[in-house]
């Protein structure tokens, strides 16, 4: 293996991935495993994380599943303990668990109750804090640093009219990433976040879905939605030595939407000089 490729190599590393049952979390767990890491797959639904762990084992890596409700800090503590019990250490904490809060087009802000608000904050933001807290303590005790990767969202920067709190929670994740990085840099722990734009969770299951997906992408420079597997290599980059001088940053993977977005694609001023 060349020295360059060695920097991306995760052999001998242990990673926890939350939200690993499906979609982005599943793809990132598979990718980290493919790059050499052993994985603890966590999510609420046992069936789904069991399947991700089983698929990782067919890649020849070690993997276990741990059903976890990340709204509960005690469960997050238990998750880190499980990784250590099983594999002796923790190197990578990938907090991907999250939940959307889209309302219908006719919803009003005052239809949102306290529980809805707290749920959005707990699953999307608090969970990242709980996992980072437990993971960083473990990593510091081990004495050789580690990486924490959070997952935010483009909606943290630009708003959706039908979502009331997801953007706020995810904006919190971006800021949390910075403050965690400042606090943990002395322990040689790097903290970064992935900021996805519109990414499909899985391949289209019908012709109709394929067409719908295609049309939604037409406003983006890339002219398509993202594929969940595309987050895999980015996760490998952030989890590995390849990003050794990178910390506190957000990496936007959105087909160029946030770079522009002032006008529909294909719009350009007519200028005669």
């Amino acid at each position: 293996m060349t020295p360059l490729l060695e920097r991306f190599n995760l052999e001998g590393k242990v990673a926890i991935v939350t939200g690993a049952g499906r979609g982005l979390g599943r793809q990132m767990a598979l990718a980290l495993a493919d790059a050499g890491a052993d994985i603890v797959c966590a999510a609420r639904t046992a069936e789904q994380v069991d399947r991700t762990a089983a698929d990782i084992r067919t890649l020849g890596r070690r993997a276990i599943s741990q059903p976890t409700d990340v709204r509960d800090s005690a469960r997050c503590d238990a998750l880190i303990r499980r990784a250590v019990d099983e594999y002796g250490k923790l190197d990578i904490m990938l907090s991907n668990a999250g939940i959307g809060d889209m309302r219908g087009a006719n919803a009003e802000l005052w239809d949102v109750n306290d529980d809805d608000w707290h749920d959005t904050l707990d699953v999307n933001l608090s969970s990242a804090f709980y996992c980072a807290r437990a993971a960083s303590k473990q990593m510091t005790g081990q004495g050789h640093g580690g990486t924490i990767i959070n997952v935010a969202s483009g909606t943290a920067m630009r708003a959706y009219p039908m979502s009331f709190g997801y953007g706020a929670a995810k904006a919190g994740v971006i800021a949390l990433t910075k403050s965690l990085s400042a606090m943990l840099v002395k322990h040689n722990i790097r903290v970064n976040c992935i900021i996805p734009g519109f990414v499909t969770q899985g391949p289209a299951r019908s012709e109709q879905e394929a067409i719908f997906t295609q049309t939604r992408g037409r406003y983006l420079p890339a002219q398509r939605l993202g594929y969940a597997w595309e987050l895999g290599p980015l996760a490998i980059f952030l989890a590995s030595d390849a990003s050794a001088y990178v910390t506190g940053q957000g990496f936007i993977i959105d087909g160029g939407g946030l770079a522009g977005g002032l006008a529909p694609m294909g719009f350009a001023p007519d200028v005669a000089v």
């Binding site: 293996m1 060349t2 020295p3 360059l4 490729l5 920097r7 991306f8 190599n9 793809q27 598979l30 990718a31 493919d34 790059a35 050499g36 698929d55 890649l59 910075k178 990085s181 400042a182 840099v185 734009g197 990414v199 899985g202 391949p203 983006l220 420079p221 890339a222 002219q223 993202g226 594929y227 969940a228 597997w229 595309e230 895999g232 290599p233 980015l234 490998i236 980059f237 030595d241 390849a242 990003s243 050794a244 001088y245 990178v246 910390t247 506190g248 940053q249 990496f251 936007i252 993977i253 959105d254 087909g255 160029g256 946030l258 770079a259 522009g260 694609m265 350009a268």
Partner: protein, 268 residues
């Protein structure tokens, strides 16, 4: 790896650049050399170029090309003055013919000027703009034309500086020029996205080779002590990101600025 998406390049294969043809402009600088060598190590064939027709600079570029040759890559050296658009056009056409096409462009022109704004002359301002910003535009335009003709997509990576996003005193011309490169990056990404060409920027923090840094030894340097990681970055810490951005796996990242700065821009 095979999964529900079909066969996807994952694991370390995701970063393989075998068969890709790259042009790195500004390969005499530490950042340019580091990215050229990283792309080569990842499997790309690389042509390296100077940013001026200065003999010493061309020799330095040749030394980088010799290191690429040792990696077993197809490589070549060219020279150009990035401030002259026509000349850049001719060079790029030549390189495209030589390599059979261009899949990856890295721009690393760098001309720093440490001078107070009130004392900066017209000539100095223009020079800094011409090399850093206009030079980048000349290269992007010329290579963009080739990529559009080829119609197989492409990757453009502009190696810039945190000073494009934030400022320090006594560097007004450089800050303005680098900021120009960042939004040029976004503009080109928006324009060429539908053609499968991604355009991104790597913004370097305080690196061992930074012209603005003075002594990079953190024991001696207040500026470096201000970096959360308490050290200047090494040029070879830029390479892996350039490789990822240049890869086929990175088709959904475009119009972005990525900071390799030890946390410099993230804290108060």
């Amino acid at each position: 790896m095979q999964n529900e998406w079909g066969h996807v390049r994952s694991g370390l294969d995701a970063f393989d650049l075998t068969g890709k043809r790259a042009l790195v402009i500004g390969a005499a600088s530490a950042a340019g050399a580091a990215t050229a060598l990283a792309l080569g190590e990842a499997g790309a064939d690389v042509t390296v170029s100077s940013i001026t027709n200065d003999g010493d600079e061309i020799m330095a570029v040749k030394r980088v090309q010799q290191q690429l040759a040792k990696l077993g890559r197809r490589s070549s050296t060219v020279a150009t003055d990035v401030t002259l658009g026509q000349g850049v056009q001719v060079m790029v056409r030549q390189v495209a013919k030589g390599l059979g096409g261009i899949d990856i462009l890295v721009n690393a022109p760098d001309l720093f000027l440490g001078k107070s704004a009130d004392a900066t002359t017209d000539v100095e301002w223009n020079k800094v703009m011409q090399v850093n910003l206009t030079g980048t535009f000349h290269a992007c335009r010329a290579v963009g034309k080739e990529m559009l003709k080829q119609a197989t997509g492409g990757r453009i990576i502009n190696v810039t500086s945190v000073l494009g996003e934030r400022a320090i005193a006594n560097a007004a011309a450089y800050c303005a020029a680098q900021a120009g490169v960042l939004n040029l990056t976004r503009a080109l990404a928006t324009e060429w996205g539908p053609h499968g060409i991604t355009v991104n920027a790597i913004a370097q923090g305080w690196m061992q080779h930074s012209a603005a840094i003075g002594n990079p030894d953190p024991a001696a340097n207040q500026t470096v002590r201000f970096v959360p990681m308490k050290r200047a970055g090494a040029a070879d810490e830029l390479g892996p990101l350039a490789v990822y951005l240049a890869s086929d796996s990175c088709g959904y990242i475009t119009g972005q600025v990525m900071f390799v700065d030890g946390g410099l821009t993230t804290h108060l």
